[in-house]
Structure formats: structure tokens, C-alpha cells
Amino acid sequence: MKTGYKERRIATTVVYHVFTFLLACVMIYPLVWMVMSSFKNSNEIFRTAAKLLPDKFSLENYRVGWQGFAGYGFSTFFKNSFIIAGLSTVGAVVSSAIVGYGFARIDFKFKNFWFACMLLAMMLPFQIIMIPQYIIFNKMGWVGSYLPIIVPQFFGQGFFIFLNVQFIKGIPIDLDEAARMDGCTIYSIFIRIILPLIKPSLVTSAIFSFMWRWDDFMTALLFLSDPMKYPVSYALKMFSDPTAGSDWGAMFAMATFSLIPIFLIFLTMQKYLVEGIASTGIKG
């Protein structure tokens, strides 16, 4: 009787792992297929679509793809993406930490009103405000530059403000009180006490910000017209347009390449990503 129970348990465990593992394979297959295809000969990709492994691994697609289009190589697009995502992230992280502290620790008039505005800003998608933003930025002469893409990031991002508020509220207020006794002002408490303690939420904000800005192509679609300034995301889109030819091998190679920074962040920072999502309950 006892062995029967044990056997059944082992059987359940095996079924569990087989099922979960197979489903995981299905989930990941498209990505593996893309990566593997990027090493195939361009004409081999669709002739042998069902075969995962290439006949022989070739870096030819990467060489061709890297040359880009319209006279600009992908090195330019990568550089642009790093500039956009990098500056945006610095702006978003710093400003969101400052604003987060204000909401979490200080009492001032109409705080609830502004906090509601912040939640609204967090929920309101970019698609809704893209047209008037375009009109305004166009009037300001910013269209065609990185300014409309980067500058708004320097005024606090709802999701990161929220994350910081949650995190700061978890820090015992006694620390602030003790620092005030020692003569700290509201400002020096922020810099000396809070800032060093909220590193995890700063890191989480930085990771999400970088990934979102790296993936973002709508702002580039809207505000940029000179291929020299394209980020990787938008360059890929233009690269894949039928008019630019359809070298799928090169396209898969560059698509794979464009995901590498995200993959690296994902592999090294997964803990922060998971906690960021779990603690705020907001999509990443």
C-alpha cells in the first residue's frame, strides 16, 4: 500500500515536469527558431523551416545585416538606441526617485489630488496623447530630434514613482526622525538616508526603463525622419519593409542582435524584474 502511494507520487511528479517542460519548450520555440534561422543561409530558412538546426552555422547574415540600409550600418542604430535608452533611463530614475520621496514622506496641501494625477498619468497610454504631443513638439521645433523622446522622461514616470513610493513607505520612519534630531533637513534626509536605502527600487526602475525605451518604436516612428538618427527598433521596422528588400536571414540576424541587451538584462536582473512586477502588480 505504501509503495503504491509513493509510486503514484513519483508518477505525478514526472507528469508534472514533462507537461511543464513541454509547454515551456512550446513557449520558447519561436525565439529559438529565430536565433537558429539567423545562422542559416538566407535561402535555406524557409525551405527547411521545420528543421531547427542549420546545416552549418554561418555568420554571413550578421555580416550582411550589420551593413544596414540607406547608407547607415546597424552600428549607428545601436549607438542611437544606447543614447536614447541611456539618457531616458537616467532621467526617469532620478526624477522618479525625487518625486517618489515627496509623495511618500512629506505632507503638503493637495497631495491626494497630485497623487491621483500621478495614477492617471500611469494609466494613460502614450497612444492617447501622441497626436497633441506631436503638434506641440512640432510647434516647438523639436520634431526630428531626440528631444521629444528623451525630455519627457526627466519629469518622473508614473510606474517608477509608484514603485519608489511603495518602497520608501516600507522604510521605518524612525530613521527619518533620528536624522532630523541630528539636524538633517528634509533634503538631506532624502540624499543621506532614503536614497542609499532605495537602491533596489532604483535598480528595478532603471531596468524597466531601459528595456521599455530600448523596445519602444512608436516615439521614433512619430518624431524621427532621418535614418541617421533611427534607434534599432525603428531601423528594424524599416529594414523589414518590402521596399528595403527581403533578406530574411539578415533580418533575423539583426532582430536577434537587437534582443541581446534585453536578454542580458533579463538573465542578470531577473530577480529585480520579478519583484518589481510582484510588488506593484503592474505589467512589465
Binding site: S95, D215, K283
Partner: protein, 309 residues
């Protein structure tokens, strides 16, 4: 601020003023206030104003009253078509994604040596799923000579389906892409599941409840706040979907995959009808706002909050 005081004292007073909470609070949230007004509130008000005008970027706007809205509702058949397409997409992709997220979260709540690996694999697609790279991949996967047909061919099913060319299948390639990205919802469910006190399950087991009863009587009710939150978030995201339709299908065939936001973009920037685009944006604000409101109103009926219960 206080100009009637003597110079030596003045600086100190300024510092003191800056150090009062009611001033310091505003100093800290000032970046947000400026950003909120400049990039959100004022553009929104402008947008409402433009929605009553005929406006292309070259000429000044001309006031035409409710003409844009009238044209939208009565004269533009494509408007209702894209609205319907978007509704269809939301109606299927959001529940399917949440269902998938919940089921996989139930699988992964059991902790084994493989848990970290499984979680990573299931989460990954939602991290990269909205990228252009994945959109391009999806387009090729579902091409006639793509990997989907190739695999169908191997297992002996019809393998010549033009997934992206047929009206009944094209939209489903986009829905599948949305469902594939269930990872972040799954993580939220996972953390919700872990917060359910184990004592509840034990008590239920003692009372003779089976697995299915425990699922419907404990797991689901305890998760309703998480489901509610996820639902609102995903609903907004669903209505705002853009990249998929814009890159993968470009609305083809015959606008059956043309999403609302893409049509709004086309009107504004391809056909240069910015006023019409603004009217469309405001209609979407109205629809999403209304749905969110309805969900909040029905909340009492089905969302269980522990502090009240």
C-alpha cells in the same frame, strides 16, 4: 517671498521656508507637476479642442463643431470596422491571456528544483514580446512557408494555410501573440497565490473539499483583487495595441486586423487629418474610461477584499 526683511536675515528665512513640509513637498514633486501639465494635461486639453476642428499640420485649425464626431459615427464605415476589430481582439486576447497566466501560475506555485528555470522561460516572451524583432519573427512564423505550416506538415495536418492572408485567421495570429505574452500577468498571479494562507486549504480539506472545490471556493475568490487589477490593466493595453497590427499585418487583409490606434495614426499622420485623429483619441478615452468605471462599479459584486470580508 518676504521682501520686507533685512538682508542678513533673509537668506535664513528662505532656507526655513524651503524646509517647511508644505513647501518642500512641492519642491520634490515639482518635476512631476511640470511634466504632468506640459506633456499630459495641456496636450489633452489641446487635443479636445482640436477634435472640434479641421486641422492639418500646415494650416491653422478651422472650427467645425461636432463634424468630426458626426463623420466618425455616421459617415466613416471604416471607423466602426476598426472599432469592431479592436473589440474582437480585446474580447479574446485579454481573457485568454489571463486564463493562461492563471493556469501556468497554478502550475508554478509548486516549488521544485526547476521552478526558477520554468518561471524564466514563461516570463521571457512578455519581456520582449512587444518589440519590433518579435513582430518581424511573428510575421515570418505565420507566413505560408513559415515554421507554423512546416510543423503542421510534419504532423500531417494541412500545411498550406495563408494565416496572414485570410480574414478568419489573420486576427488570430495577433491574438496568439498577445496570449503568448502572459508572463507578467502570471508573475502577478503567482505572488497573489503565494499570499493565500495555507490554513484555508487545510481547513477546506478537513471539511472534505476536493481540488476543484478548493480552486473555485478558495483560490479564485482570494485572487479576485489580483484578477480585477490585471483585468483593468490588460484591457487598457489591449485597446492600445499598435505595434502588432502596424508591423505584422498592416491591417490586412481588407482591414480585418486594422487596430483602432493604427487607424487613428493613419488619419492623423498619413491622411493629415489631425482633428479627426484627436476626436478618435477622445472617443477611445471615453470607451476605456466607461469600461473601467463599469468594472469598478461591479467590483463589489465579485471582488473579495479580505479586510471587508
Amino acid at each position: 517671498m518676504k521682501n520686507n526683511q533685512m538682508t542678513p536675515k533673509r537668506k535664513k528665512t528662505f532656507t526655513q521656508v524651503m524646509n517647511t513640509p508644505k513647501v518642500a513637498g512641492y519642491v520634490f514633486i515639482l518635476p512631476f507637476i511640470i511634466g504632468f501639465l506640459a506633456f499630459l494635461a495641456i496636450p489633452m486639453i489641446f487635443s479636445l479642442g482640436f477634435s472640434f476642428t479641421r486641422y492639418n499640420i500646415l494650416k491653422s485649425p478651422v472650427f467645425i463643431g461636432l463634424e468630426n464626431y458626426k463623420a466618425m459615427f455616421t459617415a466613416d464605415p471604416k471607423f466602426w470596422k476598426v472599432f469592431g476589430v479592436t473589440m474582437y481582439y480585446v474580447l479574446f486576447s485579454v481573457p485568454l491571456r489571463l486564463l493562461m497566466a492563471l493556469l501556468v501560475a497554478m502550475l508554478l506555485v509548486k516549488s521544485t528544483k526547476m521552478s526558477g528555470f520554468y518561471r524564466a522561460v514563461y516570463y521571457l516572451p512578455s519581456i520582449i514580446g512587444s518589440s519590433v524583432a518579435v513582430a518581424i519573427l511573428w510575421k515570418r512564423m505565420f507566413a505560408s512557408d513559415g515554421v507554423i505550416n512546416a510543423i503542421l506538415g510534419i504532423i500531417g495536418l494541412p500545411s498550406d494555410i495563408a494565416w496572414l492572408g485570410r480574414a478568419d485567421t489573420a486576427i488570430w495570429t495577433l491574438i496568439i501573440l498577445a496570449v503568448w505574452q502572459f508572463g507578467s500577468s502570471m508573475l502577478i498571479f503567482l505572488s497573489g497565490l503565494k499570499q493565500i494562507p495555507i490554513s484555508l486549504y487545510e481547513a477546506a480539506t478537513v471539511d472534505g473539499a476536493n481540488g476543484i472545490q478548493r480552486f473555485f471556493k478558495i483560490t479564485i475568490p482570494m485572487l479576485t483583487p489580483t484578477i480585477f487589477f490585471n483585468l483593468i490593466n490588460q484591457l487598457i493595453n489591449g485597446f492600445m495595441a499598435f505595434t502588432q497590427s502596424y508591423i505584422i499585418t498592416q491591417g490586412k487583409p481588407k482591414d480585418t486586423t486594422l487596430f483602432y490606434t493604427v487607424y487613428m495614426y493613419q488619419n492623423s499622420f498619413t491622411y493629415n487629418k489631425l482633428g479627426y485623429g484627436c476626436a478618435m483619441a477622445w472617443f477611445m478615452v471615453f470607451v476605456v474610461g466607461l469600461l473601467t468605471l463599469i468594472l469598478f462599479k461591479t467590483q463589489k459584486k465579485w471582488v473579495y477584499y479580505e479586510s471587508e470580508g
